[in-house]
């Protein structure tokens, strides 16, 4: 499944200076993605997932942004690279698809031409040949009558079709890495499943390495090999799909898992929720960012827990001070109440 390392991110920090103070959107994120993998990054809105992805693409353009750390795509350093270098990588070696397919295509150009634009931004393929390639791509992502549809305008496409077109566009130059930022959030549930199946198929058939950003663990379960859980600009837990789903270590992950509606369990009166608000990244809580919402917090949580493995083969890491045994006892994998009841004392 997984080959050599394709993307390695090391201590990535993204801060935005604002009038109210500095927003620490990405706070020391490190991870690796190996070739052929699907890695999901999961977290609530505002966890820093999209900012991180945009930064890797070199698209965090605010003059108020401060970026530090390292990120390598293969051998290429992405952080601090010159704009023309990044421009050459974007869309060619590394492509990104976005949350809202309805507005992500330019309304005044034909869909096929927008794919042609990407192909010709990086290669000298003649226009007609590039258009032929666009048609093939549209066919591959499951758009019926692609010759005709390539000549249509975005408003003549449905939301799901537009996302397919955007995926086709992203894949047009066979990028090494595809970053999909909430690709299904704006779509109907049935269309969501189709798009996820498409992404999975592209991963299995063509070996497209994919970073999937989502707030929906249900989406992750379908296609991810590994999962990173982000909270308040940090990765709080990282592991394989099975590790995260069957042996979650961080109370925040318990909360995320507990808030999935499930049909295979007796219905709870109401869906479990994580009480409280996501932390303000303007003035994040001291120590563990999840502390104010965590029912199991104790004094040590005022220090930042490191992201480290607490056993096993070291592939499963988390940021929580609780002992593994204590965690076992606290989390109850029963109907929608995963360890988030208030502490007894």
């Amino acid at each position: 499944m997984s080959g050599p390392t394709l993307l390695s991110v090391d201590d990535l920090q993204v801060r935005f200076r604002t009038e109210e103070g500095t927003v620490h959107a990405v706070d020391g994120v490190s991870f690796e993605v190996r070739r052929g993998e699907v890695v999901a990054i999961v977290g609530e809105s505002g966890a820093g997932k999209s900012v991180m992805a945009m930064t890797l693409m070199g698209l965090t353009r605010s003059p108020n942004a401060e970026i530090s750390g390292r990120a390598h795509l293969g051998e290429t350093e992405l952080i601090g690279a010159a704009e023309d270098e990044l421009q050459a990588i974007r869309g060619d070696r590394m492509a990104m698809i976005f949350q809202d397919p309805m507005s992500s295509l330019n309304p005044v150009y034909r869909v096929g031409d927008q794919i042609v634009e990407q192909i010709r931004a990086h290669t000298d393929v003649p226009e007609t040949q590039a258009f032929g390639r666009a048609v093939d791509l549209l066919r591959e992502v499951g758009i019926p009558a692609p010759e005709e549809r390539a000549r249509a305008f975005p408003h003549e496409f449905s939301g799901g079709m537009r996302q397919r077109a955007l995926i086709a566009m992203g894949l047009s130059l066979e990028p090494e890495l595809l970053i999909a930022d909430e690709p299904t959030t704006a779509l109907d549930v049935t269309i969501q499943a189709q798009i996820l199946r498409l992404l999975k198929r592209l991963n299995t058939d063509r070996g497209v390495t994919t970073v999937l950003i989502t707030h929906d663990l249900g989406v992750v379960a379908d296609i991810a090999d590994r999962v990173l859980v982000m909270y308040g600009g940090r990765i709080v837990e990282s592991g394989t799909l099975d590790q995260i789903f069957y042996d979650p270590q961080h109370p925040y992950t318990w909360g995320l898992l507990g808030s999935i509606a499930r049909l295979d369990r007796p219905r709870a009166d109401r869906l479990a929720q994580i009480t409280g608000q996501p932390p303000s990244l303007l003035s994040p809580p001291e120590g563990c960012h999840f502390r104010p919402r965590c029912p199991h917090r104790f004094s040590k949580c005022k220090q930042v827990p490191p992201l480290e493995a607490r056993g096993g083969d070291g592939s499963h890491t988390d940021r929580c001070w609780l002992d593994p045994e204590r965690k076992q006892a606290l989390r109850t994998l029963e109907s929608g109440e995963i360890g988030l009841e208030e502490p007894a004392a």
Partner: protein, 325 residues
């Protein structure tokens, strides 16, 4: 398309009819509006006035007068009450001048408006943006009769006196066929005077459009595709920001031809349609006023239709069949 054209033609006729009615009847209720009295001279007596009334048909019922006037307008026989000159011929004479003024100025204000708007949008928030914004606002606030008069006096008159030769002429118009260079020479100041206001307006409109468009998701997509920043700006940001500006352009151009240049033409003594209208209004001379108003209304309605067609081309989301008349 055919349906669109037909619908547009019908609505054009209705508008022109309404405009002609309103213009004509305003002069029936205007105080001191009786043309016979004014035509009869300073100390008229009743018999003279009666004679004029009879000769010009002012004694007929109003609707008959309206009908005859309109008939004369469309057969080209309309005569001014005061100059006794053929109105349609006079308009034809002035039209090339008005067109020369309007076309040149429209190109000027579009080019500079877009350049300035794009530049200020790129520099949004910086000193140069603030400076140019203030300048644009000053430009918008300067009435053309004032800036035109200043230009005429200082650049056309004083500067010529100081330099000893005419860098800028002091008003007037030279036919293109007579001397193309002098034609251009005489139009430079009027073009600038007329454009300043529009440059200010267009740059502001474009600036805010560009800033809006830059935050669009499809611009982010274009960047993610690895398209060069220049192409992102031209093909995606500017192309989409221009749609409303082009609409504005068509309408403003029509308005300038149809009477919007009255002040500019008068200040620079260009003897175009606008100045003709201004003179006619001064004399409450109904036939030319009516003709020029109809002429202006025609241009506005006509360009409205053109703008709709162009708009549908620029923005594929709009279909002509659905856009209302």
């Amino acid at each position: 398309m055919a349906r669109f054209v037909v619908r547009r033609l019908v609505s054009m006729l209705i508008v022109l009819f309404a405009v002609s009615l309103v213009t004509f009847f305003i002069f029936q209720v205007l105080p001191n509006g009786d043309p016979a009295v004014r035509m009869a001279g300073k100390q008229p007596n009743e018999t003279q006035i009666e004679a004029i009334r009879e000769e010009w048909g002012f004694d007929e019922p109003v609707y008959v007068q309206y009908a005859t006037t309109m008939e004369k307008l469309f057969t080209g026989d309309m005569i001014s009450y005061f100059t006794q000159l053929n109105v349609v011929e006079e308009i034809w004479k002035g039209l090339p001048r008005t067109l020369a003024l309007a076309i040149g100025a429209a190109i000027l204000w579009m080019a500079f408006g877009v350049a300035l708007g794009l530049y200020t949008a790129m520099r949004a928030g910086r000193v140069s943006d603030t400076l140019l914004t203030v300048l644009a606002l000053i430009g918008i606030s300067m009435p053309v009769f004032w800036i035109g008069a200043l230009m005429n006096h200082y650049l056309g008159f004083e500067l010529t006196k100081t330099l000893g030769f005419e860098l800028f002429p002091n008003g007037g118009y030279v036919e293109f066929t007579e001397n193309p260079l002098e034609w251009l020479h005489h139009l430079i100041l009027p073009w600038i005077a007329l454009s300043i206001l529009f440059i200010g307006v267009y740059s502001r409109v474009l600036r805010s459009n560009v800033l809006d468009t830059m935050n669009q998701d499809y611009v982010r997509t274009a960047r993610a595709k690895g398209v060069s920043e220049r192409q992102v700006l031209l093909r995606h940001v500017l192309r989409n920001s221009l749609i409303p500006v082009v609409t504005l352009w068509g309408l403003d151009f029509a308005v300038v031809i149809g009477g919007g240049a009255i002040l500019t033409e008068t200040v620079f003594n260009l003897q175009g349609v606008g100045q003709y209208a201004a003179d006619a209004i001064g004399q409450l001379d109904v036939p030319p006023i009516l003709a020029v108003t109809m002429f202006g209304a025609f241009f506005v309605v006509f360009f409205n239709a053109i703008v709709d067609i162009v708009y549908a081309y620029l923005d594929p989301r709009i279909r002509l069949e659905e856009s209302s008349a």
